[in-house]
């Protein structure tokens, strides 16, 4: 008698856990075709890496219980952002980390507790599978740090040249606790301006990583999730007036948005502005202004003066805010303007950037 039993068919979920389905080294158009190759890619790279129960169901949408959300607050916040950074990997970060922190931070600066993210990838055929795996792993690691889950997604593969390597879109949903409502129109004369550390690191790291300059330095991106820092700030000061993360356009742009929405003057003290020597040096050489350089882990907050000390010490006690500083104050006039008191003792207007920041000829 044959004692060998036929081996049982493993459950589908277990099969999906297998990691050796994808044999190809690069992404091809087949991976976006809707067929088996795409299914393998989704299972092997995204479902396995992101490891979230909502995503593993592989429905056309993620589903989550309302009760859990209403327990956290009284309003939902929603945002979306696309990430097209070149190069994909740069000192201190990569496009995946950016795609999570950017959307988490856009929710968090509105006072929201970020919960769920989507992930849409537009991939240029020919991208190395290894690159995609590294990006997905980085997204997962960052999502864990920020305490959010990637719950649904989409994958498209386009012809060579129709996209540059990899574009990612993430959308996010969060819950805003009752009574929290920062808004850029709420700054008042007498308030103070806070920032959670060095400005311009991300912009400088990207210029450097493009390798066009042959500069040798060690500037790393400041890319980091800010939601736990912001929660700590809101705990001691629910009355935070305005809060934004200073991404493209730098802190100059955010301050101008506050000044014009609140119809006040924002005065910044250059001496108080945290700026690394390496970033300053690069700006001096290339004729760039650090106030306009992009950041990916910096928030600018306007708080009532009586809370300034307490908020500042909470920020400095948090890993994402060790180098936090008070950089200026709000006055009534001249309305809708940002004025910088220079290290040299003069004053100048800081306007919105026109077009791209272009290096000067001489």
């Amino acid at each position: 008698m044959n004692t060998l039993q036929p081996s049982p068919v493993p459950p589908l979920s277990e099969m999906r856990q297998r990691n050796d389905k994808l044999k190809t080294a690069t992404i091809t158009l087949a991976h976006g075709s809707g067929g088996k190759a795409m299914r393998d890619l989704i299972d092997d790279v995204f479902v396995r890496t992101f490891d979230s129960p909502e995503l593993a169901l592989l429905e056309d949408q993620a589903r989550f219980p309302l009760a859990q959300m209403t327990a956290l607050g009284d309003r939902l916040a929603m945002t979306t952002d696309s990430y097209v950074v070149d190069p994909l990997f740069f000192p201190g970060g990569d496009i995946g980390k950016l795609a999570v922190t950017g959307t988490v931070n856009d929710l968090a600066v509105g006072g929201a507790i970020p919960l769920y993210l989507t992930c849409s990838m537009i991939i240029e055929e020919g991208l190395s599978m290894d690159v995609l795996r590294r990006v997905a792993a980085s997204m997962k690691k960052t999502a864990d740090e920020a305490g959010v889950r990637i719950v649904t997604g989409d994958t498209k593969v386009v012809h060579k040249g129709a996209a540059d390597k990899l574009f990612i879109n993430t959308a996010g949903i969060g819950v805003i606790p009752t009574d929290i409502q920062p808004g850029s129109e709420r700054a008042r004369a007498g308030d103070v301006i806070l920032i959670n550390g060095y400005v311009g690191d991300h912009g400088a790291a990207i210029v450097d990583a493009r390798g066009e300059m042959s500069l040798q330095n060690t500037i790393e991106t400041d890319c980091q999730p800010l939601n736990t820092l912001i929660q700590a700030m809101l705990e001691v000061c629910p009355q935070i007036r305005c809060m934004r993360d200073a991404t493209r356009g730098g802190i100059a742009t955010v301050l101008n948005e506050f000044a014009s929405a609140s119809d006040v003057c924002i005065r910044v003290n250059e001496a108080a502005l945290p700026l690394r020597d390496e970033v300053r040096g690069m700006c001096e050489i290339l004729g760039l202004d650090p106030l306009y350089l992009a950041n990916e882990g910096k928030l600018v907050a306007v708080v009532p003066v009586e809370f300034a000390d307490e908020v500042l010490s909470v920020m400095q006690a948090h890993p994402a805010g060790v180098d936090s500083a008070v950089i200026g104050e709000v006055t009534a006039t001249p309305q809708s303007s940002v004025i910088l008191s220079t290290l040299f003792g003069g004053q100048r207007m800081v306007d919105m950037l026109v077009g791209e920041q272009l290096p000067r000829i001489c």
Partner: protein, 381 residues
Amino acid sequence: MKYVDEFRDPDKARRLQAEIARLVPATGATAERPLQLMEFCGGHTHTIFRYGIEQLLPEAIELIHGPGCPVCVLPMGRVDDCVTLAERRDVIFTTFGDAMRVPGSRKSLLQAKADGADIRMVYSPLDALHLARNNPEREVIFFALGFETTMPSTALTVLQAEADGITNFSLFCNHITTVPTIKAILDSPDMRIDGFLAPGHVSMVVGERPFDFVAEHYHKPIVITGFEPLDILQSIWMLLRQLTEQRHVVENQYARIVPAGGNAAGMDAISRVFELREYFEWRGLGSIDHSGVKMRDTYAAFDAERKFSVANIKIADPKSCQCGEVLKGVIRPWECKVFGTACTPETPMGALMVSSEGACAAYYNFGNLTELMAKRKAVNA
């Protein structure tokens, strides 16, 4: 930061500020009839605005922001020629960053790039030569721009290309010269400038002597000036000292960079590759004799104008644009009819609104617009 912070020391600035205020009355200048000092160079204009130097000066000193921004004075026709060259399919067109936004009559280089022209921003002409080496099947044109400051590096790049036997590299030469332009300003009938801050980096190449004529022939004091804020304040103080002592000589404040005799190797490279044009067209100032250079016949093979028969289009400045009067100090930037209305950094009409070194863009970006517009109303009323 070493070699930077020493020249931005606020305490030293305050001492110079006090010395300047002490000297001014002896010149006879008043707030109603101020001394007009011209900084020629766009780099100086940029420093003056970035550090708010005008606010540190007494009302009896007025700074006139001269034509020394090579991007600003580029005539519209030359930009059109650039765009035509850049739109050729066989061409990679390379340029310094701030030339990208200068408006032509059809479009700027930035718009041409968006429309599909292969235009690349470089930091050095050597980067352009590198591109030529890596793209032998295409012609790489470098948009050579600037005063004597940038001429040696373009000249040396041409010599390098010649030595390496590279045949797909050429210059679209728009280099301009300082001295004939200062002379044109001094000869202008509506001009009353009391002293000059001479361009430091041009002087680093050409030396002190080319400016002698300002002191000897026109009897105006002139000080070769560096680009840090203390350099500017010290040079203003040196001009005032000359004025109060009724002297007019060439002095060199920027001696840490500028040798009296200039840079012989740089000058040699310039004269090997370039020769003076009979005249060159300036935005806002019109045609000025001998104010530009072209490539010598020996280097015709590296001259985009000859390789591609450039049309050399002439397009008049818009009528309402008063850049010329601003450049000569006849009116202040905010007194121009179109300042801040038809002419803004987003849609520059005149040259001076184009680059951050242009006086109008500097006032627009760094000045208090509401205050300036109110002042203009008061002037026009």
